[in-house]
Symmetry: C2
Subunit: 141 residues, 2 copies
């Protein structure tokens, strides 16, 4: 059963982590956890936003080659009646800074008070939401 | 920095949730949360193992067309010094039942005492691990 619209919107605004799938060279899927903030129909994720390995470079290369990405938000709980997920298909691009996106990220993540939002030149992943599908084990009241 | 070998093995054995990326028809990545158990160099995930939408069918179709999958385990924490992830690239196949895998799943997930492991005929996703990459913000002591 899908999540109710209000709950879906709330989770897209507040859930702190998602997993981003891109297509690597050769066609294998690539996966990385991301932080993100939503503004309207766009999800924004900083590149270099928190300490990370060289995986970020793969993500950037993948998107430059193929902008089609999938983003998954989900909750795991030992009580399986509390599971849900939200899957977003989107078109990704790289943007060198966006004041609204940066403000949304700083508002969502107090960690950015002490962690640099960017380590080098500002670079944001912009994901234009194309479709959103959700599922929940237990519809909210 | 990668996780220490012992910690990596412990997490692959005990972490309760992962995200599975497959390649959908047309080439877009597909993502779904999974439960799984490890036996040796194989990750097993039941198809129909917990209440789910029709997404399982997409996963099965994807793997029949292209066995290359990526599996991500990760921990999110508001304290970003506690983040880690493990990314497994593997070759997936569908197996109609495996006693060892089913025992490993039942041992890992007490939920299977009350939730059927399979809703219909037993079907398992078998992921032969090809490469494992990990990252941690803070190496363990």
């Amino acid at each position: 059963m899908p999540l109710a619209d209000a709950e879906l919107a709330r989770l897209l605004d507040r859930w702190p982590v998602a997993r981003l799938a891109t297509i690597a060279a050769g066609g294998r899927p690539h996966l990385v956890p991301i932080v993100f903030a939503r503004t309207g129909g766009v999800l924004w994720s900083p590149i270099d936003g928190k300490p990370k390995s060289a995986a970020k470079l793969a993500r950037v290369r993948d998107i430059e080659r193929d902008p089609r990405v999938t983003v998954l938000l989900d909750r795991y709980d030992d009580d399986w009646s509390r599971l849900w997920w939200i899957r977003v298909a989107g078109g990704a691009s790289l943007v060198a800074g966006d004041a609204g996106a940066e403000a949304a990220l700083r508002a969502k993540y107090p960690q950015y008070a002490t962690t640099p939002l960017f380590r080098a030149a500002p670079l944001l992943l912009r994901i234009a939401v194309e479709t959103t599908i959700s599922w929940t084990a237990t519809p909210s009241r």
